[in-house]
Structure formats: structure tokens, C-alpha cells
């Protein structure tokens, strides 16, 4: 019992998630800066930002729904933290697992986005409203290809549990190669999910200031920012667990491999962010539905056929 | 200088009242004397419709003592600039807006309204430019009699000293 609590709250649960989230944010900013020929921030910058925001005054707009305004950042953070419990980090099993946890993780991931939409909607500012509408529009664009891409490998593994999928692919490593198109789709729509450039129009600084976060300040903003960082870890871990299940049976070594995989995925995310201009929201929808969804559909069909062949 | 002289000759031929009031200042520069409203409008329309002065670069407002002067700078494809001057008394500074033939003049004519107190008739509705909201009425900063040292920025009032009372003068 105690061990389980430690696992969920400290390692590899929430505390690790928060610290690793900040580390990935630092790494992301550093890579972004070095590509742009800048120095970039020192290693403690994300933590310093977080602590500074904790000490700042909280201003709540008079027109907003105060209860919702305060509660949403916490809900958002809680959703990410609970989703993280189902992802194997230390060793090849996660802290908690059951048949169907993949679906739960996907829905918990959606809660963060919904929280952002509600946060923008309840703060009642013009920029925040436009930002929240864009968040929702973007969600409808990336969600289908992202879910299809993440569910495709599960069809071969014949299990809806992330831990179970890891175990399956460990046994049949050659099947990993089949899922490469889905990995490609997942990486791009994952960038959309994280609302990072080129898919950052929901919080485009030069158009709508910072979209849904525009009215947020102090502790509430700090928690939102932390949940965004944690989301980054979550998406990177999920992609690495599903598409790159490279495992030894030694827990520490697995943990090191996990760190390397997620950092590798982060580097791809950072590169994508630095080499492209921001897409307009209508262009985002077009890309997701015209290019990503068909690729993901084809992947699903292929995987269904393979599954059929396997059962023969 | 050939092209410039031709323009001057053609103008004088068309409008006899312009004789002796238009001159070529130097290459690519033609200046006219001050014209009254009716004369001015005939000439500017003719220049726009018949002589290829497609572009109005800007309007300069000037203070001519008892009168206000308006210099419309027009140019054609060859880059010849023609300065067409209009005059209106300060007591009745009414002129007609030329935005109907040169839409580019809108902002410049608004400046005349704010800074010189000209009444530009036919100017499209829009925000005032460039003076701030709450600027006191009847203050036209670019008229010569308006002195910036008498303007109080905090109360937004203009307090000229009375004759004999030198208080507040620099």
C-alpha cells in the first residue's frame, strides 16, 4: 500500500513527472535557442519561473466564473498526473494497469484540453474566447488522427493495456516496424495536441496575445504551465511506450532507455517547432483531415489485416 | 524643362485666370499662386481627369496671416510634382474635400481639420487625427498665433496671457 502511494506520488509518479516536465521544458527551450543562434536559458529557468509565479498576485476578472476559473488549472494538472500512472517508466510495467487503460489515458489527455477550453471560455475576455474556440477547433482536428494512430498498434497486440502492449512488442519486436506510419502521424498530431508551433494558433502571441491563458496570473497560471509541461512528458512517454517498446529486463536500464527515448522525441518536437511558421487554424484542420487522417486510416486497415493473418 | 513648360502652357490655355500665376520652379517642380475655392476645384479636377496627375502625395497647410493656405502636391508618372495652392480666410476656413478624386488624401485632410481648424466639407466620417481625445475645441496648434508655452498639459487648457499681463510668458 505504502509502496503503491510512493509509486504514484513520488517516483515514478507525480513528483518525477513535475521535475521531468520542467527538465524537458528547459531542454526544449535550450534546443530552440541554440537552433536560433541564441544562448538559451540556464537549467533552473523553468523552476525559477514556476516559483516566481507562485509568489505573484492572482487577478481574477470580474466577469469570469470565479469557481471554475480557480478550479480548472488543478483539474488539468490532476488529469495529466493520473494519466501518467498508467505509463511504464521504471521497468516494463506501469504503477497501475488494467485491460483498457490506453483508452483511459487518451480520455484523461482530452480533459486537459477541455480544461483549457473552459478556462478561456469562463474568463470571458475576447482574446480568451477566441483562443478557447480555436483550442476546441484544433482538438477536433488532431484528435481523430492521434487516437487512430495510437490505437493502431493495439490492434496487433490484441490488448487495450499499455503495459500489455509493451509486453507483446517485447516478444515480437519485428511488428514495431509495421507501425512506422502511425508513429509519423502521432508525432505530428502530438505536436498539435501540445499546441506547439506550427500548431500554436490557439495561443498565438501575435494575434490573440496568449489565447486561453491571457487572463490567468500567479499561482493559477503556474499550475497551468506545469500541466502543459507534464502534458509534454505524457505525450512523449506515451509515444515512446507504444511505438518504441525497447526493453531489457533490468529496471534501471529500462529507465535510462525511457529517458533517452523521450528526449529523442522531444528533440523531434523542438526541431518541428523551430523550422516552421505558424499555421492558420483552417490550415491546421485541413492538414489533419486531408493528410494525417487518411494515413492513420490506412494504418488501421493494414493492422486489421495483419491481425486477421495472425489469428489464422 | 520641356515637359514642365508644356504643362504650364496647357494649363494657362485652359484656364485664363492662371496666366502669370503658374511657374516652373526647377526641373520636376511646378508651383501655382494661391487660388480661391472655385478656381482651385476646376483646376484640380482638370489635372486629375485630363493631364495624368494620378497621384496626390500630400497636403501642406500653411498660415498666411489672415488666411489659411493649402498646398496640394500632385504628381504624374514622370515624377513631375505640381504644387497647387488654395486659400481660405481664417474667419471662414471652408474648403471642399478632394477625397472624392484622390482617396489617398483622407488622412492629410483630417490633419488640416485638427491642426489648422479648416472646415473640410465632404470628408468621410472617421476618428479624428492626430490630436488626442479631449483636446480643447478652438485650439489649432499649427496656426502661428498658437504658442505651445501657453498650453497646460495637465488641465488640457490654453491660457494665453492678457495684454499687459506678462505672467506665464517665457
Amino acid at each position: 500500500m505504502v509502496l503503491k502511494l510512493v509509486k504514484i506520488l513520488i517516483f515514478p509518479g507525480f513528483s518525477f513527472l513535475a521535475i521531468y516536465g520542467m527538465f524537458l521544458e528547459y531542454l526544449d527551450r535550450k534546443i530552440y535557442a541554440r537552433i536560433q543562434n541564441r544562448m538559451g536559458p540556464p537549467w533552473y529557468q523553468p523552476l525559477a519561473d514556476f516559483l516566481k509565479l507562485l509568489g505573484k498576485e492572482i487577478i481574477i476578472p470580474a466577469d469570469s466564473n470565479k469557481k471554475m476559473f480557480k478550479i480548472l488549472p488543478i483539474v488539468s494538472l490532476a488529469a495529466v498526473a493520473s494519466a501518467f500512472v498508467y505509463i511504464p517508466v521504471f521497468g516494463n510495467t506501469s504503477s497501475a494497469f488494467f485491460e483498457g487503460d490506453l483508452i483511459i489515458v487518451l480520455y484523461l489527455m482530452t480533459i486537459t484540453t477541455i480544461c483549457m477550453f473552459l478556462a478561456g471560455w469562463y474568463s470571458r475576455g475576447v482574446y480568451a474566447t477566441i483562443g478557447s474556440v480555436r483550442t476546441l477547433t484544433q482538438m477536433f482536428a488532431y484528435e481523430v488522427p492521434l487516437f487512430m494512430a495510437l490505437l493502431a498498434p493495439a490492434l496487433i497486440a490484441k490488448t487495450w493495456s499499455i503495459t500489455g502492449m509493451t509486453a507483446f512488442y517485447e516478444e515480437h519486436p519485428r511488428y514495431i516496424l509495421i507501425n512506422i506510419p502511425a508513429l509519423f502521424v502521432a508525432l505530428i498530431s502530438g505536436q498539435g495536441k501540445l499546441e506547439r508551433a506550427p500548431f500554436d494558433s490557439p495561443e498565438a502571441e501575435t494575434e490573440i496575445v496568449s489565447g486561453v491563458f491571457v487572463e490567468y496570473s500567479g499561482r493559477l497560471l503556474a499550475f497551468f504551465k506545469l500541466s502543459v509541461d507534464c502534458e509534454l512528458v505524457l505525450v512523449a512517454s506515451l509515444i515512446s511506450a507504444i511505438f518504441l517498446p525497447i526493453m531489457t529486463d533490468i529496471a534501471v536500464l529500462d529507465f535510462v532507455i525511457y529517458l533517452l527515448k523521450t528526449i529523442g522525441i522531444l528533440i523531434i518536437f523542438s526541431l518541428m517547432r523551430s523550422i516552421m511558421a505558424r499555421f492558420r487554424i483552417d490550415q491546421v484542420v485541413k492538414i489533419c483531415w486531408r493528410y494525417l487522417t487518411p494515413i492513420a486510416t490506412v494504418q488501421i486497415i493494414i493492422n486489421l489485416l495483419i491481425r486477421g493473418l495472425l489469428t489464422l | 524643362m520641356q515637359a514642365e513648360q508644356e504643362i504650364v502652357d496647357r494649363l494657362c490655355e485652359e484656364f485664363p485666370f492662371l496666366k502669370g500665376r503658374v511657374h516652373v520652379q526647377r526641373q520636376k517642380r511646378i508651383f501655382t499662386g494661391h487660388l480661391v475655392k472655385e478656381e482651385f476645384e476646376q483646376v484640380i479636377r482638370y489635372l486629375h481627369n485630363n493631364m495624368g496627375f494620378y497621384k496626390a502625395n500630400h497636403v501642406v497647410g500653411t498660415d498666411e496671416g489672415e488666411n489659411l493656405g493649402f498646398i496640394y502636391l500632385l504628381s504624374n508618372k514622370e515624377g513631375i510634382m505640381l504644387a497647387l495652392k488654395e486659400i481660405a480666410p481664417k474667419s471662414d476656413p471652408k474648403i471642399n474635400s478632394m477625397t472624392c478624386i484622390y482617396p489617398s488624401l483622407e488622412r492629410h485632410e483630417r490633419e488640416l481639420v485638427d491642426l489648422f481648424g479648416a472646415e473640410v466639407q465632404g470628408l468621410p466620417e472617421g476618428p479624428s487625427y492626430p490630436l488626442p481625445d479631449g483636446w480643447p475645441k478652438g485650439n489649432y496648434p499649427l496656426r502661428k498665433e498658437w504658442k505651445p508655452e501657453y498650453f497646460d498639459k495637465n488641465t488640457m487648457t490654453y491660457n494665453p496671457p492678457d495684454a499687459g499681463n506678462d505672467k506665464g510668458k517665457r
Binding site: P198, E205, T206, E207, V209, A277 | E106, P130, P141
Partner: protein
């Protein structure tokens, strides 16, 4: 007879129905409209101005543009200052294109006084003007890239802009507000070392600019954000009287350096740069090509600069008269009207900066755009609000002090110490000139 009536009736009914329908449509669309303010403070605006944008979904229905927040009364201030004092005042009309304003002003006064400046001075004016164009356009490229969320290009172009600023600092002693013009010529001569540095900078920049041009021409994401945005056709461009790169992108060649050569442009070959896209993409291409052209002009002038004096003496009192002086600023045609009355102060100075002309077409360009394209459309005319509004002078009561780099840093450390922050522990890198 009956049939005709019937038809008529039916037509009328149909018309009524249509009216009802269109009215309903209009009502629902009006209900869906939201008005959002952009400015006076907004991250996409580098200077204050306000845009009241009416949106229908993400589409712009109408835009009301308010400028005038930086009206400083420069024209009035000019009337109570001598010509030499005015020179420095006019240089401060705009921080980016200060040289073009002081050149136009000096040219006008030289024409009134009947002075011909030495050829060497004319060449130096050209070199500084072209360097200014380079740094202005590079600045623009960075801002434009930032507006469409492409921060890498923004950082790259501003890094390259530093090289130009270093050369400007070496030639003029200042990074901005160069203070090189004077009535009758220029104040500082240019030596062979400066020329070498300029040429070195030009070689470096040429490679970079060609890369940017290639990037803009081939990058799919950039063209998705730039092509077809902020359209202003040739006819509309003529109607609204836009100038500079905005007009040139619509195929109108209005380069004053060619139409009415001033300074040494009559001897230096200048190739016109135009484009037919008539949108933001065209404006970007025109500006990058113009920078490449500027490099050629700089190379030519450095190689062909004649020896001789750099200034002639100018009288203090300028003979009565009026003059219109035109120069080609980085943003387009810059016109100064100066009237003198025989004293040492001008009677009237009117500055028509290029941005002022370009604002007119803005509303037209914004209508029908997506909200996301507003920042780039506004940025694409390279608006300079200070130039537009020009015209209050701040009087410092304590007088002025001259500080060097170290002194300035010491002052800032003291300033923060008084407020309880010690920044003296932060190490600053030594400032290096381009070498």
C-alpha cells in the same frame, strides 16, 4: 393577362421571401459578430495604434484604424528652432529611417541656399542611406517572421542586422540616429578601414540574403501564410496612393532614386525591383531583392567614391523661398516641404513620411482576411507610427549628460541598487565591432 399578373405575384412573393431570408441571414450573422480591439497595446504592434476589428467567426468584416498616439508636435517645434537645431530634431522623427529624413531636410535647405555639396559628401550620404535600408528591411523581415510565428527566421535576420548596425556605428558613431548629415555636406569622413569593413559585411550579408530569398521562394509553410494575403491590386494601389515596397509589389515602379535621382544616385546604377504578386509575399520578395540591390549600390559607391572635401560652409540665414524635397526612404517616398522667410528659422516644415501614405489602403487590405492574418498584413506595409504621427518635445530639467558605455552601465546598476536589486554580479560580454 391573368397569367402575367400571376407571374408578377409569384415574383413578388419570391422577392419577399428572399428579402426575409437575407434579412434573417444578416441578423444571424450580425449576432455572430464580435468586436475585438487590437491595440493601443498588443504584442504584435511594436508601437501604439489601435485597430477595432469586427469579426464574423475568424473573418474580418470591418476594421477601424486609429493612429496618432505618438504625435509629438515636431512640425510646430521646427518653427521655433534654427535650421541647425532642426536638423537634429528631424533626425528624431523616426528611429529606423532617421537618415532619410535628415537627408531630405538638408537637401531642401541646400536647394534654398543655392549650395552644391561636394561629390564625396553625396557618396557618403548614399552609403549611409543604403546601410539604413539594409538594417530597416532586415528588421522588417524579422518582425514579419515573428508575426507569423516563425521565430527562427526572426532571430536569424536580427542577428544579421547587428552586422549592419556595427558598420553604421563604425561610420557614424551611432547605431541609430546617425547624425552624419549637416547642411552643406556630411560631418564625418569615411576611411579605408571603414570601407574594408563595409565590403566584408556586404560579402557576408549577400550569402545570408540569398539564403533568405531561397527560403521564402521555396518554403511551403511560409508561402501558405504569405501568398494571397493582404491583396492590394495595381488599380487599388494607384487609387490609395501607396508608396515604396507596397506599390512595387503591385508592379508600380515609384523608386525616387530612379525617378528623381538625388545625392549621388545620378551616377550610381540603380536597378528597379518590382513584383506582380501584389500581396504580402510580393512585398517580402521585393524587400529582400532590394537589400541585394542595396549591397550592389554600396559596393559601387565604396569603389567609386571620389576624393575631396566632405562639406561646404552654409549660411546661417536661408533666403526666403519654398522647396519640395524628395528622398527614397526604406518604406517608400519621403517628402519634405520647407518654406523659409529669410531668417535663421523655417516658416513651415511639413514632413510626409512614407508610412503616412501607406495607411490609406490598410482597411481595404484587412477586409475579408482571417484574424490570424491581421498582424502580418499590418506588418507588411512596415508601418512606422512615429513617422506617421511625427509631430512634443521632452524638456529635461537637469540638462544633458554625456555617458560612455561603462558610465551608463554604472548608472543602471545604481538605479537598481536603490530599488534593492544588485545586478553588478551579472557579467557582461565585451562589445565587439565587426571585424
Amino acid at each position: 393577362m391573368e397569367k402575367v399578373d400571376e407571374n408578377k405575384e409569384r415574383a413578388e412573393n419570391k422577392e419577399n421571401e428572399e428579402n426575409k431570408e437575407s434579412k434573417q441571414n444578416r441578423e444571424t450573422s450580425e449576432r455572430n459578430r464580435i468586436v475585438i480591439p487590437i491595440g493601443p497595446q498588443h504584442p504584435s504592434l511594436k508601437e501604439p495604434s489601435s485597430f477595432i476589428i469586427t469579426l464574423e467567426g475568424e473573418k474580418v468584416v470591418d476594421a477601424v484604424i486609429g493612429v496618432g498616439y505618438v504625435h509629438r508636435g515636431i512640425e510646430k517645434a521646427c518653427e521655433s528652432r534654427t535650421y541647425i537645431q532642426n536638423l537634429y530634431l528631424i533626425e528624431r522623427v523616426c528611429g529606423i529611417c532617421s537618415h532619410t529624413h535628415s537627408t531630405a531636410f538638408c537637401q531642401g535647405i541646400e536647394e534654398l541656399a543655392g549650395i552644391t555639396i561636394p561629390r564625396r559628401a553625396a557618396y557618403i550620404r548614399v552609403i549611409v542611406a543604403e546601410l539604413e535600408r539594409l538594417h530597416s528591411h532586415l528588421l522588417w523581415l524579422g518582425v514579419a517572421a515573428h508575426e507569423i510565428g516563425f521565430d527562427t527566421l526572426f532571430m536569424y535576420s536580427w542577428r544579421d542586422r547587428e552586422k549592419v548596425l556595427d558598420v553604421l556605428a563604425e561610420i557614424c558613431g551611432n547605431r541609430v540616429n546617425y547624425g552624419i548629415n549637416t547642411i552643406g555636406g556630411v560631418r564625418r569622413d569615411i576611411d579605408s578601414e571603414m570601407m574594408q569593413d563595409t565590403l566584408k559585411m556586404a560579402d557576408y550579408l549577400e550569402g545570408q540574403l540569398k539564403y533568405y530569398l531561397d527560403l521564402v521562394m521555396t518554403d511551403k509553410v511560409l508561402s501558405a501564410r504569405l501568398v494571397g494575403i493582404g491583396k492590394l491590386s495595381r488599380e487599388d494601389a494607384l487609387k490609395f496612393g501607396v508608396v515604396g515596397p507596397v506599390a512595387r509589389a503591385a508592379g508600380i515602379m515609384d523608386d525616387i532614386r530612379i525617378i528623381e535621382p538625388y545625392a549621388a544616385y545620378d551616377e550610381i546604377p540603380v536597378n528597379p525591383v518590382t513584383d506582380t504578386h501584389a500581396d504580402v509575399f510580393g512585398r517580402t520578395v521585393v524587400r529582400i531583392k532590394e537589400m541585394l540591390e542595396s549591397l550592389e549600390i554600396i559596393r559601387y559607391s565604396v569603389k567609386n567614391i571620389p576624393d575631396g572635401d566632405i562639406a561646404v560652409k552654409a549660411p546661417r540665414r536661408i533666403p526666403a523661398g519654398e522647396v519640395i524635397s524628395r528622398t527614397e526612404a526604406p518604406r517608400g517616398e519621403n517628402i519634405h516641404y520647407i518654406r523659409s522667410n529669410g531668417t535663421d528659422m523655417p516658416d513651415r516644415v511639413r514632413i510626409r513620411a512614407p508610412s503616412q501614405a501607406n495607411w490609406q489602403g490598410m482597411r481595404h487590405m484587412l477586409q475579408g482576411q482571417y484574424l490570424a492574418d491581421i498582424p502580418i498584413t499590418i506588418a507588411a506595409i512596415d508601418p512606422c507610427y512615429s513617422c506617421t504621427d511625427r509631430a512634443i518635445v521632452v524638456n529635461s530639467e537637469s540638462g544633458t549628460e554625456i555617458m560612455d558605455w561603462q558610465g551608463l552601465r554604472q548608472y543602471s546598476i545604481e538605479w537598481y541598487k536603490k530599488r534593492g536589486i544588485d545586478v553588478s554580479l551579472v557579467k557582461m560580454p565585451e562589445r565587439k565591432f565587426y571585424a
